[in-house]
Symmetry: C2
Subunit: 412 residues, 2 copies
């Protein structure tokens, strides 16, 4: 077992093909930010985008900016650019609303496309909002929801009664990556549709949605996509479903002629029928600035660094005597995980809080998960080394005996 030195990490940084990308982000002094899977760092270009929108588009041009600054077409313009990052051809993605709302739209559309089926499949360990939206979408009806257990195989739950399968490809707690192609194929063989929640993968994992024959996908833009706090989410609907797909959040933005002010809803052709109301333009501009950073970036290069960072982090923790009590719950095999590394540790909450005080920002998920999201755009190999050293020092200090960390509060 060769030792991993700080110098070795610095050498890796010196050879990093994505090193320049780090310069495109603001990173606070003295902080190692391992929470890019909660809220991404700020692209330096965001400031100018916001300034223009605040000082010119809104302040000076006022209402005329809907046309002049092309606010009207932001949802699909951003959607097309975003789609490239996960293998979606133009015309299939809009940026709008929240992930939860887009799950609702996708669920209801999928249910409508499979009207004779009455089962929704998901997983018990799903990020809860996905399950809550299934409850909402099936409220007052006779749908059954089947949830796979953490160790179960989703294949066992998919049969000819299933209308839709809703899954996160990357688990928000463990970072486990599902075999999207296999599940999509299985679902399609059973005549079901799949809705992929890409919250923890969009922008960091290469995906080929079109090529795998995906049906629907949703996700947020404020994690690995760095669009800013609460920036609008996205929804992908495969072109082949668009003509038949209907969803009940049928606001005027999804109408064929929103300014004809017709009394009856007539959905527009194409992906815009998944829009509902007026989007928060300023927050949309954060997404635009974030997508600028991805221009010309190959997602395979991003993935390679993500894998290398996670590998390094896992190895550093495994070799550090001070971290012996942590249990890795992220799959060790790179092809089975996203861009995060999680450990189970009963005193994890206090350790995460103590690390934050030392400038290493990770987060905690109940009941005992220490979670580190590794954004390959702005993290260095050197950061992995320092973070693990500080983590070990924090554990050694037994922060769970410190009354300041006794009461658990949300770390988001």
């Amino acid at each position: 077992m060769t030792e991993i030195t700080r110098q070795h990490c610095k050498d890796l940084d010196a050879q990093d093909p994505l090193a320049a990308m780090r310069d495109a982000f603001h990173l606070p002094e003295g902080v190692i930010y391992l929470d890019g899977n909660s809220l991404g760092a700020q692209p330096k270009g965001a400031r100018a985008a916001f300034d223009r929108t605040i000082d010119v588009e809104w302040r000076e041009d006022l209402i005329t900016s809907w046309g002049k600054a092309e606010w009207f077409t932001l949802p699909e313009r951003l959607g097309d650019r975003l789609g490239r990052l996960f293998g979606a051809a133009p015309g299939q993605v809009v940026v709008c609303d929240t992930t939860s709302l887009n799950i609702y739209k996708a669920l209801r559309a999928a249910m409508g496309l499979r009207p004779e089926r009455r089962v929704i499949v998901s997983e018990k360990a799903s990020f809860p909002t996905d399950l809550y939206m299934i409850e909402g979408a099936t409220m007052g009806s006779d749908y059954e929801t089947r949830l796979v257990e953490p160790e179960g195989d989703i294949a066992d739950l998919i049969d000819a009664d299933v209308a839709a399968v809703l899954l996160s490809n990357v688990d928000y707690r463990t970072g486990r990556l599902l075999d999207m192609e296999r599940i999509t194929r299985l679902a399609h063989e059973a005549g079901a549709l799949v809705i992929w929640d890409l919250c923890h993968s969009a922008g960091v994992l290469p995906m080929e949605m079109d090529a795998m024959g995906a049906d629907f996908a949703v996700g947020c833009t404020y994690k690995y996509l760095n669009g800013g706090p609460g920036s609008p989410a996205f929804i992908y609907v495969a072109e082949r479903h668009q003509a038949e797909a209907r969803q009940p959040l049928s606001g005027w933005w999804g109408h064929a002629a929103p300014f004809a002010f017709e009394a009856e809803f007539r959905p527009v052709e194409g992906i815009r029928r998944f829009l509902c109301g007026t989007q928060p333009i300023l927050s949309m501009k954060g997404v635009e600035a974030a997508l600028d950073v991805f221009e010309g970036i190959d997602m395979q290069t991003v993935r390679a660094k993500s894998v290398a960072l996670c590998d390094l982090f896992i190895r550093l923790v495994a070799r550090h005597p001070g971290c012996a009590d942590l249990r890795l719950i992220t799959p060790e095999a790179a092809e089975e995980r996203g861009s995060q590394v999680s450990f189970a540790f009963d005193e994890g909450y206090a350790v995460v809080r103590a690390m934050i005080e030392r400038g290493v920002i990770g987060d905690f998920r109940a009941p005992n998960v220490m979670r580190f999201g590794l954004a390959p755009y702005y993290l260095r190999y050197e950061d992995m080394f320092d973070a693990v050293e500080i983590m070990a020092e924090c554990i050694a200090a037994r922060p769970w005996e410190d009354s300041r960390f006794a009461q658990m509060a949300a770390v988001t």
Copy 2:
């Protein structure tokens, strides 16, 4: 008929108790902005609020701002402040999502509160998204929608089969103001619930939602409330309905313990159960800055000036020979209108475009409505005088014979 002179208007401005409020807004040089009912002007304080959120909260403090900058509680903190403007006690309003989405929540909640009833009442001339959301909310069910004709009385449509009545108190085209108390009382006498769409009244009309026993209300914050382009909407739910009210957009933000990550949805007590997903923080900050402008402002004073501006505008147009072909479609009686003045004119589109070129920004609504929203915070009596003079000059120039204005485009 005494002449109204420009000097007379300037004298009115000199006595205006709201004159100082104008200084709280950025207004472009050379522009008379009569489109505050589409997108309000920018409060000067917005810049500092945005700067703090961009440069400190997001850039420096990153994920910790959810707690440290109190992003978590923005929906209800802004809601409480907003509620004061329309007579809602704290704990009944949240700022979130879009008007269309909030209509959906309110409709589904009202339908759930009146489960044995199968009729929704609205009006044919409603802003279309309201009707589209009724279609969505009743999609696939056996609900009937009854729409009152423009000249009809809503009372004729309300009976014991009606679950909910959805109405805009101020008509977006004509500016006509409904008698909210009468309709609320009639609906309640029939056992129905009322959902008020306040898009064209919130922030400009004094209302007493609690006192009139209102049930639900929704509205946007980017018109007379000046929150910025696409800033999030609001929803009001009377406290007495909250415990029983359920709505299917049941995302994690409406959960009793969002960070306990429970698999089943358990709605939080109170108004937060009308939240769904993560809100666009930057756009929320625009609402916060806008509400600062309203601090200490009496809505009766706002209304008095709004009425006076509209009266003046109507009189100026009526007396101007150059405007003789315009037909006023806004009620002349102040108590029957909101804060806008609209005229029917077949060549209205070209005239509005020509006026915009001269710096007088109004808007146009198909098929023939020239619409002027008069925001009393930043408009002067003098502006009314100048706007009408310019309108008359534009009409005299017959812009509809100009090919530049031949093709109608959305003015929003």
